[in-house]
Amino acid sequence: MHDVNASRASKTSVPLTASAVLVNPVGLHARPSVKLTQCAKRFAATIEIALAPEGPWTDAKSPVKVMRVKAPQGAMLYFRVAGPDGKAALAALLALVHDGFGEA
């Protein structure tokens, strides 16, 4: 879904985007938020999340801001990633969501 512009993104500032459904039982609350932000912080890329494809976008490295999104179970979570290690970051984040943050 994002491979087409992945190589371009590493040279230009065009961000990568992807989306995934929150399958863990309680949505993006305390523990999942901590896991998401810990994962995001491992990458240099700018990583943002949103509940709609057009935003508003929230810094995925801030647990305070991620918690303010109050994303419930079943919600579609959108990612926008920009930076040299963006592709790896997106893959790691999607894997985390698909895996239900290890608590599905």
Partner: protein
């Protein structure tokens, strides 16, 4: 150095000797520096201190408790949390006000969430707010109370008491305070000697090293001379020997001098209170105070946690009746994220059953856990602060609904007997109008509401007297209603353990008293002397 003698009021009996820990009063407002740079540095240091404190706690925890602490640390480490506060500080707001305003706004966002998982995090945010505020106000963490220490303070809170380990002895000396406060109640339950109202504690900058606390006489001696100390230690030895004799008799039934059998039940706050206790010392448990389950600052306890705790208590009782009181929050027992902050008079506000009916999601979770636990013994469920029959009726409907839902899912459950705590004069006066399975008189609040004298105000402590004829008349009226309706009436307030009142209480017709485990031996010995 000269020894200092202070006289106050006895709040919890017993003698204690130990090193002194002076606690600063948390409610004291900090002086602001007026300098934005210094204020910002103070807030930064307080946040870092609170973060380190929580990180230290994680070491000792695992599972869900560790997850929540980790979440709190992640929130505190995130600059986004305090950025608004630092903005306000640079505009001239004192650090504590800035932090409180920003966190209160964040907390409001959680409290108004539709999803209950987000709402439940409110308590974690309140805890973060208060930890940082305590550091800004110069109050060190409460865990600094070492086992065996004598705590000297202006006043203190139940959470500070509960954070310390009292099994190794120790005692409490308060400049202000009341013998009817919740800390005093906890101190009596744990057998920690306590003296209140000794007046200002001033040491001219040199706090005392050692203290002798006499919780029977209501006196304290700081930095005693060697001979004073050895005399005191001699008294402690004699007192322990006398206790051992009374303890040996406490497994026998309580019978008055004229042959009436009195039922003696236990008041407990947690299953830990029953550790090493022989169930034979009592006829059951008359009061389990469940609000202490909600005080761990780890959010509201879930159904499984509650069920586990209730079941452990029922298992211990070995088929003896166990009365569990539903959450009695509010008044002087605030619970972050649940009770209302800033009520003009919390004792006349949304507390006890009123709060439970206003927050049915918390109440129903507890009812569900109770109905599931009821299959493991003889469970009675008691509703606190009931004033009118419709409150009991609404609670019963909620219990019915939870039981029906559990049965529909095939989950094992049973219907506990549902009764009321009689602590509002309106309920005592019209007790026969309530379709209650039992009545349990909460004499602390009944005395407070009848005498219009607060439990926590030392200046009116003398008025807060369960032995007053007006309070005894309300007790007698409740006993009469119970007799007419053929249901049990017990008394579970502090008055039950006050042996000066035993004769007057039995004269009202009461035949069931509920006291802390440590008071059983003394109560039974007193009952044996009562003649009509």
């Amino acid at each position: 150095m000269t020894e200092i003698h202070l006289t106050g009021r006895a709040a919890s009996p017993g003698l204690a000797i130990g090193p002194v820990t002076v606690l600063t009063v948390a409610v004291e407002r900090r002086g602001t520096t007026g300098d934005p740079a210094q204020e910002a540095a103070a807030l930064k240091a307080a946040i870092e201190g609170a973060t380190a404190e929580l990180a230290e706690l994680i070491e000792a925890e695992q599972g869900e408790a560790a997850d929540i602490l980790e979440f709190q640390v992640a929130m505190l480490e995130d600059d986004a949390l305090a950025e608004g506060a630092f903005d306000a500080i640079s505009a001239g707001t004192p650090a504590d006000q800035a932090w409180r305003a920003v966190l209160d706004a964040e907390i409001a966002g959680y409290r108004s969430a539709e999803d209950e998982y987000f709402r439940a995090r409110t308590a974690d945010l309140v805890d973060i707010r208060d930890r940082v505020l305590m550091r800004l106000n110069g109050t060190e963490k409460s865990a600094a109370i070492a086992g065996g220490a004598i705590v000297a303070s202006g006043d203190t809170s139940p959470s500070i008491f509960l954070a310390a380990d009292w099994r190794r002895g120790g005692g409490i000396v308060l400049a202000a305070g009341s013998s009817s406060s919740h800390v005093a109640m906890l101190a009596r339950a744990r057998g920690t000697p306590m003296v209140v109202g000794v007046g200002p504690l001033s040491w001219q900058g040199r706090p005392p090293a050692l203290a002798l606390v006499d919780g029977d006489a209501g006196t304290v001696i700081f930095d005693p001379e060697p001979e004073t100390r050895s005399l005191f230690e001699h008294r402690m030895k004699a007192a322990h020997a006398a206790c051992a004799v009374a303890d040996a008799d406490r497994v026998k039934p309580a019978i008055t001098a004229d042959g009436r059998r009195i039922t003696v039940l236990l008041n407990i706050a947690a299953p830990e209170d029953l550790a090493d206790l022989d169930p034979a010392i009592c006829d059951g448990i008359g009061l389990v105070r469940t609000e202490f389950l909600f005080e761990a600052s780890l959010g509201l306890p879930d159904e499984e946690t509650q069920y586990g705790v209730y079941r452990r208590i029922l298992d211990w009782a070995e088929a003896r009746p166990v009365t569990i009181r539903t959450l009695d929050a509010g008044g002087d027992k605030p619970i972050p994220g649940l009770t209302i902050d800033g009520e003009s008079n919390p004792f006349l506000g949304l507390r006890g059953i009123r709060l439970s009916l206003a927050r049915p999601e918390v109440f129903c979770l507890q009812l569900r856990a109770l109905a599931r636990a009821a299959v493991h013994g003889t469970l009675k469920v008691m509703l606190p602060m009931v004033a009118v029959p419709s409150e009991l009726d609404r609670a019963r409907e909620l219990l019915d609904a939870e039981i029906a839902a559990l049965r529909a899912k095939g989950i094992a459950c049973a219907r506990p007997l549902l009764g009321i705590m009689v602590e509002v004069p309106a309920a005592a006066l019209c007790a026969e109008d309530f379709d209650a399975g039992f009545y349990s008189i909460g004499s602390n609040d009944l005395a407070q509401y009848t005498m219009a004298a607060a439990r926590d105000i030392g200046a009116v402590a003398d008025l807060n007297d369960t032995g007053n004829p007006a309070v005894l008349a309300l007790i007698a009226r409740t006993v009469e209603a119970g007799r007419a309706r053929g249901v049990e009436v017990s008394l579970c307030g502090d008055a039950a353990a006050d042996t000066r009142l035993t004769k007057a209480l039995l004269a009202t017709g009461l035949t069931t008293l509920s006291v802390s485990p440590l008071a059983v031996a003394r109560l039974k010995a007193t009952i044996a002397t009562v003649n009509p």
